[in-house]
């Protein structure tokens, strides 16, 4: 038992230092739960390397998950919650970048590429016999 306590001590220290809260029990309904899960799987944990909130157990992520849960329970929509997150942390937090001027190539690039490549191959393989 003594041995366990020593180890628990380490893990607790870790928790006391870095963490305050853990995700509480889920009390909301199915649709809300789905929305919550969707949002936390599409947002980045800001203190981790490349993890979404759902995966992360960092204290900040847990705080943020609780906040998102609260907002979902209050009946806020996906858009409202995401706006809140972007306002607080910039759109870096979203794994789905906004469709803006800056990201236009990102979103339309694949389609443009598909068209150019098809034309290129059509010209080079069919028309050059």
């Amino acid at each position: 038992m003594k041995k366990i306590n020593l180890f628990l001590y380490f893990i607790c220290i870790y928790n006391i230092l870095f963490s305050h809260d853990v995700i509480g029990e889920q009390k909301f309904n199915l649709i809300q739960e789905q929305l919550y899960k969707q949002i936390i799987s599409e947002t980045r944990c800001m203190v981790c390397q490349n993890q979404n909130l759902a995966e992360s157990e960092a204290p900040l992520a847990i705080d943020l998950k609780n906040k998102i849960k609260e907002m979902v329970e209050e009946g806020k929509s996906e858009k409202e919650i995401k706006n809140f997150l972007v306002e607080r942390y910039s759109s870096y937090i979203l794994y789905k970048p906004p469709f803006s001027h800056q990201n236009i190539i990102l979103w339309l690039g694949p389609l443009i590429f598909l068209i150019i490549l098809s034309y290129f191959l059509y010209r080079n393989i069919y028309l050059r016999k």
Partner: protein, 642 residues
């Protein structure tokens, strides 16, 4: 005495560099002064591998005897580390994994040198010289920026230990497999560049090249699948693909080489797409170099960039630019002269192969764009963005769906005529009905699952109908042998698709707080958190949870998720080891989060239906490629003897 081994290892590195220099100078300098270079090229291209192997063994030995005078070893090992991790720690950090990279590169060159006698003499010599150039470049990089034998100024008492995340079976197998694939593409690349130099791409050359491409493709597939499996059980999040930039770095060459596999079939069988095949080969290897650059330079911040150094990044970037630049230059100068001898109709099997290629290359481009776009914005100081799963779901998946549909239909088409369009329509109706029956029986309401199920049936039923129709007149003849690999590979894809869509749509993920004694019901399974207890490993302390899983009141499994604290990393974060009960139909997955108070934990409980099919599908694809290689080599042998 023992310390000297690291000097010997370094000596072999230098020797290997001189050897590869001799190899490339044979064709460029020495032959001008009338030296017989043919023997020299054969010899040096074969010697390279044994020399590097000796160097590699020196490093392994130094790891095993805990020679902490070597910086790389004191950084990545520890005297308490189990011996098998000491061996795999050789490639756990940057320097050692670059040595492994060089070793594998030399191994491929060795194999090529041994089995390329059937190629034209001049072609073979140029081919090996280009491989020699790649070997030389990477050795320069290794010796001047990433010397694994570098000494410490003062010898530490013990090593800093291997990153706990990497102390796992996954590390032993994943990097070597992946590197075999990455580097195997160098064979295809060198071959393509040689074709540019010779302004020719003969049909029999394509036949020679195919097994090499399939072999490196197999390793790449296996490496990626192993990485996915490793991430699944090690990270404790239960995901199998994260669209992490480092994963993408391996996925791009895979997509590109898959396109290449298909275009090479056309070059070999129909003498077309020659030009295009060469271009794809250049791109496939370039992408694997780009992946190395992205990972090694530390430009990406992700779980994988364990060692970063900008000067290395610059060296690789220059080397990369040189290789891609020169090869593309050679291509653009000579591509015009490599002409297709055949033509084909707009609506034909050949066209479908072309569409397959267009889709695969567009998919590669999409992954590339998603990976580097945030970096480009960052370089220009624009707003930082994150590109993740939702982006790829919207852009990448729509490209994949028609591709998978093609995988079920192209094999059933014939080159000569298009009369089987009617059959396709009949098959379609039959398959749609079959899917409908399944949808009704299992009362599926999720659209993705419906789609996944349809695509699965589309490939498997189409291929089976085709197989049985042809069996009567083929009686396991040559056609069958030629196609069997393809059947397996495409059915592997179907199985993967089924697994991926179902696990992503029907998984159940619970994150909750459990006290000992608590139970929770997930799907048909009841999880009981009985207790947690201490059980230490050789170099870590561990707390294990005991979860009893019941189904219909019967105990079916006991899961032991763990939290580990490594001795070498006492102040760090405890590592998570998930408790998994694998099964073909579903995985049950439990991982421990944080300790909340004396006896309650935050716990993740996952139910993952058909997740095993994701990796099983990949394995079947590999099996298909291996069968293809086997039958092709047999065929080539027969052709040569007759």
């Amino acid at each position: 005495m023992i310390n000297e081994l690291s000097y010997i290892g370094y000596f072999f590195l230098i020797l290997a560099m001189l050897n590869s220099f001799l190899l490339i100078s044979s064709k460029t300098i020495l032959y001008k002064i009338n030296i017989n270079t043919a023997g020299l090229i054969s010899l040096t291209s074969r010697m390279h591998f044994p020399i590097l192997l000796l160097s590699f063994l020196c490093l392994i030995y130094s790891f095993l005897i805990d020679d902490f005078s070597v910086k790389y070893i004191s950084d990545n090992s520890n005297s308490a580390l189990p011996y098998f991790y000491k061996v795999s720690a050789v490639w756990a950090g940057h320097e050692g994994s670059m040595l492994l990279w060089c070793l594998i590169l030399s191994f491929w060159m060795f194999l090529v040198s041994k089995s390329s006698e059937s190629l034209d003499k001049e072609f073979r010599e140029n081919f090996l010289s280009i491989m020699g150039f790649l070997n030389f470049g990477f050795l320069l990089f290794l010796i001047f920026t990433s010397d694994p034998f570098e000494k410490n100024l003062s010898v530490p008492i013990d090593g800093r230990d291997l990153n706990p995340l990497l102390q796992d079976f996954g590390l032993i197998v994943h990097p070597p497999m992946l590197y075999m694939g990455y580097v195997g593409l160098s064979v295809v690349f060198s071959f393509a560049v040689t074709c540019c130099i010779h302004k020719e791409f003969k049909k029999e050359w394509a036949t020679w090249l195919r097994p090499w491409l399939l072999l490196s493709w197999s390793f790449l597939t296996l490496g990626i699948a192993l990485g996915s499996w490793w991430a699944y059980y090690e990270l404790g999040w239960g995901g199998w693909w994260f669209w992490d930039p480092v994963e993408n770095a391996s996925f791009m060459p895979w997509l590109m080489s898959t396109a290449l596999v298909h275009s090479l079939i056309m070059t070999e069988q129909k003498n077309i797409f020659k030009n295009w095949t060469i271009l794809l080969a250049i791109f496939a290897f370039s992408l694997s170099l780009l992946g190395t650059f992205l990972v090694r330079s530390g430009i990406l911040v992700s779980v994988h960039s364990f060692a970063n150094d900008p000067t290395r990044g610059i060296f690789i970037l220059i080397f990369l630019g040189l290789i891609i630049g020169v090869s593309l230059l050679l291509y653009s100068l000579n591509a015009d002269k490599i002409k297709d001898n055949q033509s084909f109709d707009l609506i034909s099997k050949e066209s479908f192969f072309l569409i397959n290629n267009i889709l695969l290359v567009t998919a590669t481009f999409t992954v590339l764009l998603g990976t580097i776009y945030p970096l480009i914005l960052d370089i220009f100081g624009l707003e930082k963005i994150s590109v993740g799963t939702p982006y790829y779901n919207l852009t990448f998946l729509p490209i994949m769906i028609p591709l998978i549909i093609l995988a079920g239909v192209i094999p059933t088409l014939r080159f000569d005529n298009n009369s089987n369009l009617k059959n396709i329509a009949i098959n379609f109706i039959f398959i749609a009905l079959t899917s409908l029956v399944f949808i009704l029986i299992f009362s599926i309401i999720n659209l993705y699952v419906m789609l996944g199920l349809f695509l699965f049936f589309w490939i498997t039923i189409n291929l089976f109908i085709h197989l049985f129709k042809n069996l009567s007149w083929m009686h396991i003849g040559n056609r069958f042998k030629q196609n069997i690999g393809m059947y397996f590979a495409h059915i592997g894809l179907a199985i993967f698709t089924l697994g991926a869509t179902i696990v992503e749509s029907n998984k159940i993920e619970k994150e909750l707080i459990m006290k000992t004694g608590d139970t929770i019901k997930v799907n048909k399974y009841t999880f009981e958190f009985e207790k947690f207890f201490r059980e230490d490993g050789p170099n870590y302390e561990s707390l294990k949870g005991k979860f009893n899983v019941f189904k219909d009141g019967k105990l079916i499994s006991v899961l032991n998720p763990e939290k580990r604290l490594y001795f070498s990393n006492q102040s760090g974060m405890p590592m998570t080891e998930a408790g998994i009960q694998p099964g073909l139909s579903r995985d049950l997955y439990v991982s421990l989060g944080n300790l909340v108070d004396d006896n309650s934990w935050s716990v993740r409980i996952y139910y993952k239906p058909l997740v095993r099919l994701v990796w099983l599908g990949a394995l079947i694809m590999v099996l298909g490629a291996l069968l293809s290689i086997y039958f092709q080599i047999n065929r080539n042998k027969k052709r040569r003897t007759t």
